[in-house]
């Protein structure tokens, strides 16, 4: 079941519709409600390998609906510590709970200062409104 539109206050956002929940030198990443809604019900999450190096602003994974495939852009640089296997096995989880059970990967940040370049929720909401 699709979630209702929401953008949590405690996340940092990338203009390509990705979010990061930063905790010390680690972060959990995912795609926003807007992204999953634009794609429709997801049928495939092509996850990165454990240990893969993510580079901010570059594609690190793919999410795919019946209609279309889309790159997932890294909001921050870092090393993949964990992949959400539930999102791999049941990609519709990403639609149902994009900020919770539908997270994608957890990474160790390689440059914590990159977070300064991400948007707070108000700026991201304004960005979505322009789409």
């Amino acid at each position: 079941m699709a979630a209702n539109e929401s953008y949590p206050d405690d996340l940092r956002y990338h203009p390509e519709h990705d979010w990061a929940r930063i905790d010390g030198d680690e972060a959990v990443l995912g795609i926003t409600w807007y992204a999953q809604d634009a794609l429709g019900e997801l049928v495939h999450f092509e996850a990165p390998r454990l240990g893969a190096a993510l580079t901010k602003d570059q594609a690190y994974a793919e999410v795919e609906s019946v209609k279309a495939v889309s790159d997932v852009i890294a909001p921050l640089s870092g090393e993949v510590l964990a992949v959400n296997e539930k999102a791999v096995e049941e990609p519709e989880t990403i639609n149902g709970d994009p900020y919770g059970e539908g997270w994608l990967v957890r990474i160790r940040l390689s440059d914590a200062s990159e977070a300064d370049g991400l948007m707070a929720v108000d700026a991201y909401r304004a960005h979505v409104a322009e789409q």
């Binding site: 429709g40 049928v43 495939h44 092509e46 609906s65 019946v66 495939v69």
Partner: protein, 330 residues
């Protein structure tokens, strides 16, 4: 909404997957008014159509219909279509939207004395109602597949065609263009799920109905595509000679159906290791797995053969399966 052959068409209403599943288990409706309708009339029509269409039109009686191909000299496919025999000397051809002009032009060029081709596409609306509950919802009796007759649905006069593109029981309702909106509203009002182009594609691919432009084109022939069963080679239609040569020699490649053995969604244009290519691919909502069709060399075309598909640089395993990919259990 997306542009499709000059029409604005919804890819989905509620979502491709719920729409698809509604058609498999219940009833769904598709507005396919974009498809073309060509009337061919006159005393020499049967003879004319027999010379340009691949299937044996002499097997049709009034009120019957047939899947057939419009073929080139070399056995290529200009369009695949359904021909409905209305009466002696009068046939209706329902052609693909994207090929309406090509098919019309092709026939018009070859028209002969005693027969006339007329493009009547703008005069009609067409609503496909498909699924195990579709007939009951419309108050229609079970009818034999590939037949048609005049009837009334929701007080609107329609040609009830026992045809479809989903592999389910159902009808396609042809009405006057001006009645199209009322017909659609009536059908949707009978607890029938509105469905878009997305579900139309997943449904047809599960049952391996080819899509012209993807799986069959003027560059592919009917034998390689597995459509020899709609080619009555003895009738001597355009391209019959070429097709007989391909049949006798055995085609070099075949259009096969496959399912993914690993998680991935195959897409049109992806390479298949060994020289093949995916012509249609999607995620099957019924089977919850990637499925597709594609041309592979005959050596790789046997059921059970493992294939390797290049999914954006990642090799993913697939296996050739018997058509159709999806089969109703009952």
């Amino acid at each position: 909404m997306v542009p499709f052959a000059g029409w604005e068409m919804p890819v989905q209403y509620e979502g491709v997957i719920p729409e698809h599943l509604a058609v498999r288990s219940d009833a769904g409706a598709f507005d396919v008014s974009h498809m073309g309708q060509l009337h061919v009339e006159g005393p020499a029509t049967a003879e004319f159509l027999q010379s340009v269409l691949s299937n044996d039109i002499d097997r049709l009686a009034d009120g019957e219909a047939q899947y057939t191909l419009l073929t080139t000299e070399s056995g290529g496919i200009v369009d695949d279509l359904i021909v409905y025999r209305m009466s002696h000397g009068h046939y209706l051809l329902v052609v693909n939207a994207g090929n309406r002009e090509a098919a019309y032009g092709w026939l018009k060029e070859r028209e002969r004395r005693g027969t006339e081709v007329r493009d009547a596409s703008d005069e009609y609306a067409l609503v496909a109602v498909q699924g195990p509950k579709s007939l009951a919802r419309l108050g229609l009796d079970d009818g034999e597949q590939f037949t048609h007759g005049m009837g009334e649905v929701g007080g609107i006069e329609v040609m009830v065609c026992r045809t479809g593109y989903t592999g389910e029981k159902g009808v396609e309702l042809l009405s006057a263009d001006e009645d199209g909106a009322a017909l659609w509203d009536f059908v949707i009002g009978q607890d029938v799920v509105p469905c878009g182009l997305g579900a139309r594609d997943t449904l047809r691919l599960e049952v391996c109905y080819p899509l012209h432009g993807n799986d069959i084109t003027t560059e592919t022939d009917a034998i390689s595509a597995g459509l020899g069963w709609v080619c009555a080679l003895d009738t001597g239609f355009t391209g019959a000679e070429a097709l007989r040569r391909i049949k006798d020699a055995g085609p070099e490649r075949r259009l096969v159906a496959f399912t993914m053995e690993e998680k991935a969604v195959p897409r049109q244009g992806m390479a298949i290791e060994g020289g093949g290519e995916v012509t249609s691919g999607t995620h099957s909502p019924s089977l919850d797995v990637g499925i597709g069709m594609g041309y592979v060399p005959v050596a790789q075309a046997a059921e059970g053969q493992e294939l390797e598909i290049d999914v954006r640089g990642r090799p993913r395993r697939a296996r050739v399966v018997k058509k159709p990919i999806y089969r109703k259990e009952s």
